[in-house]
């Protein structure tokens, strides 16, 4: 990894987002309105910018890494940014390198999603599940269990409004918060 030089830090935080000072943000990252980034969460925009949507919850020890997509190794300079949709939850200790992330997905604790996976909307990747093979998760797919069994859910996971509200209140009283850099449009 030593040969990869990370792009200059360029963090854009929209008003209303809550980003703790102790989080690790590297590269060109845009964080949307009402998104919460816990302390010790890691977001690394290694190959291209990461744009995170609204109402996302990124918990402690969660890792979002955007590496050079496996099919674009030749064409390093023209990589599109990783756009993460809204209402996504990245639970404690998850490691997500997915090349595409839609809306309303839940990445449960300690799961791993490799960079060959693209996640659509409403998917749940269960605790400890390791998805590494090249695949596209269709809408409302739930991955669970030791063997990463899949099933189709009835509906999207519901957004955790009450928890987000509580965190919005509690986190600023115990942690230093990064100042927003952009006004909401």
């Amino acid at each position: 990894m030593s040969d990869i030089t990370l792009p200059r830090n360029n963090i854009k935080i929209t008003t209303g987002a809550l980003v703790c000072e102790d989080s690790k943000l590297r590269g060109d990252i845009t964080i949307g309105k009402d998104t919460i980034v816990h302390p010790m969460a890691t977001i690394i925009a290694e190959s291209a910018p990461i744009i995170i949507g609204e109402n996302c919850l990124i918990e402690e020890q969660a890792k979002i890494v955007y590496r050079v997509p496996f099919d674009r190794v030749e064409d390093k300079d023209n990589i599109p940014p990783l756009i993460i949709g809204s209402f996504n939850v990245f639970e404690v200790g998850c490691h997500v390198e997915a090349a595409k992330i839609g809306d309303s997905n839940v990445f449960e604790s300690k799961c791993f999603v490799g960079n060959k996976v693209s996640v659509s909307n409403g998917c749940t990747i269960g605790a400890g599940c390791q998805l590494t093979n090249e695949q596209e998760l269709k809408e409302n797919i739930i991955v669970y269990g030791e063997k990463c069994q899949m099933r189709e859910g009835l509906s999207k996971p519901l957004p955790q409004y009450s928890q987000m509200e509580t965190l919005m209140k509690i986190l600023p009283s115990y942690h230093h918060i990064k100042k927003p850099t952009q006004k909401t449009k």
Partner: protein
């Protein structure tokens, strides 16, 4: 069974029955002063309970409920427990009632399956109202079960009838002499014995099932249509509901949780419990818990020099005394006979002891002697059984030979060493280092509180090929203090040497340097 971090299988102890177990898997019967494993104790079901709601059920009730909890369900998709979720439903007509109705549905926190997935309507009560799905075969199965029960009953009656008839036959010959009970009855004028009637054939035989002549045509779509794996069930899910075996994921149904049991373990010889849990399902404690780990010194391998065929190498073992009593440990050759001490002498105890000693000599020696002593063993077992008390005799198991070949010899040290009692406070006490135990410096390398590091010299067999697992063993003899008799009779605790075989897997042999 247990899979703790202490449960390392390179050191094994030979149970009294001959099976090799780690110390953590063994029990120690304090009345027989013998090692017992799960194979040589009797298992008894103490109570049935539901692991989720912790409800205790008497065994009769549990049987009626088919060993399943009424209120708890497991997920038909992933086997996790389903949790009841409340949902508030707005009434269709807002003026009808202001309060929102609470409804409940089942939901799995693991795979997010819910009772709504199969279109099961939400319930108004949190528990008890979930619809049960009856198997279409349940009536048929019930019929067959009752038929076999009837047959069993009939067979029993027939046997009794046959026995009585046999008796009658004999009587009928003696009847002529005029001195039988029946004849006497006649003479005094008592009513005659009821004639024995052949029991009626009351069993209703179920109509046997017939193979259907009409078979559905082969559905060619099976071969041509691509399958959507998200719609069909996995083998696991299908077999989770053996009565229905749903093919489609839309047909799976919440499954009533199977009850768990608490079991107590009983020594087969003396019928004392070696493990008895507390009755309350919420409690994880035991009333009786005679794990060998609390009574027998623990042996662990510390280091071993590279093992080369025919070359002596140094082996360091750590011995830990778990008891509150000082003990002395000595080593005996692996093949040495193990004598069985009876803690509580009963009538005939001396002869019993002798027979047991013989028994152990013949049966616990390594497998090479097994074939020659096989027949002898059988007869000894018989004598042993007749000598033990009648109620336990039927349950006594004959010991088998140890299924492990020793390919490495140990130089058995002649000296012994002392293990001080366990002292829980010693760990926090830095000044408690002084001990005035006279040790054989060649044997004891280092000691601290109730632990001692012992140096042994082992020699793998001369003809051993490289990369063979080196197995060695010895008989450990330790002074055991039995406190049971002292509590009961106010006597001094009994002390005696308890012997057991320890087998060590030292690792793979290596070539010459």
């Amino acid at each position: 069974m247990s899979a703790g971090f202490l449960d390392i299988d390179c050191v094994k102890y030979a149970c009294t029955c001959g099976l090799l177990k780690t110390l953590q898997q063994l029990y120690f019967c304090r009345y027989c002063s013998e090692l017992r494993c799960t194979f040589c104790v009797s298992h008894e079901v103490d109570s049935h309970f539901c692991g989720k709601c912790c409800e205790n059920l008497p065994s009769a009730e549990a049987r009626v409920k088919k060993n399943r909890c009424v209120n708890c369900f497991i997920c038909p998709s992933c086997r996790q427990e389903l949790s009841t979720r409340a949902a508030s439903k707005q009434p269709a007509n807002p003026e009808e009632s202001k309060a929102t109705k609470r409804t409940y549905y089942l939901s799995c926190l693991c795979c997010r399956w819910s009772s709504r997935d199969i279109g099961l309507p939400d319930q108004t009560a949190a528990t008890g109202s979930w619809p049960k799905r009856e198997s279409i075969h349940s009536n048929r199965i019930q019929e067959i079960v009752s038929m076999y029960k009837g047959l069993q009953e009939k067979e029993k009656l027939d046997k009794e009838f046959f026995k009585k008839k046999q008796k009658e036959k004999i009587i009928s010959y003696t009847d002529k002499t005029g001195i039988t009970a029946a004849a006497l009855r006649k003479r005094i004028g008592l009513p005659e014995d009821k004639p024995i009637l052949k029991p009626k054939n009351a069993v209703k035989i179920v109509t046997p099932s017939k193979a259907d002549e009409n078979i559905d045509d082969f559905d060619e779509e099976v071969l041509t249509k691509s399958i959507n794996l998200l719609e069909i069930t996995s083998i696991d899910q299908r077999l989770l509901q053996p009565d229905v075996q749903p093919k489609e994921i839309s047909n799976i149904f919440p499954i009533q949780k199977i009850l768990s049991i608490k079991r107590s373990l009983r020594c087969r010889r003396c019928e004392h419990n070696v493990s008895k849990p507390e009755y309350n399902p919420n409690s994880i404690k035991f009333k009786i818990q005679l794990f060998a780990y609390y009574h027998i010194p623990e042996v662990r391998i510390v280091t071993v020099e590279p093992l080369r065929a025919g070359q002596a190498c140094e082996l360091i073992l750590k011995f830990t005394n778990p008891t509150q009593h000082q003990t002395t440990v000595s080593f005996l050759p692996f093949d040495s006979p193990i004598e069985v001490k009876e803690a509580i002498p009963e009538e005939g105890a001396i002869s019993q002891e002798d027979s047991l000693e013989e028994l152990d000599k013949s049966s616990l020696t390594p497998s090479k002697k097994k074939s020659s002593s096989g027949t002898k063993l059988m007869s000894l077992v018989d004598t042993h059984i007749t000598l033990t008390t009648s109620r336990s005799s039927a349950r006594a198991l004959s010991p088998r030979s140890i299924a492990e070949s020793i390919n490495c010899t140990v130089d058995i040290p002649s000296s012994t060493f002392i293990l001080p009692p366990r002292d829980d406070a010693a760990e926090y006490d830095d000044f408690n280092e002084v001990h005035n135990i006279q040790d054989d410096k060649k044997l004891v390398v280092w000691r601290k509180s109730n632990k001692a590091y012992i140096k042994l010299v082992v020699t793998p067999n001369e003809d051993m090929p490289i990369d063979t697992t080196v197995t060695t063993g010895f008989t450990m003899s330790h002074l055991y203090t039995n406190t049971i008799a002292s509590v009961a009779d106010n006597k001094k605790p009994q002390k005696f040497n308890h012997n057991m075989r320890v087998i060590l897997k030292l690792g793979k042999s290596v070539g010459l340097n």
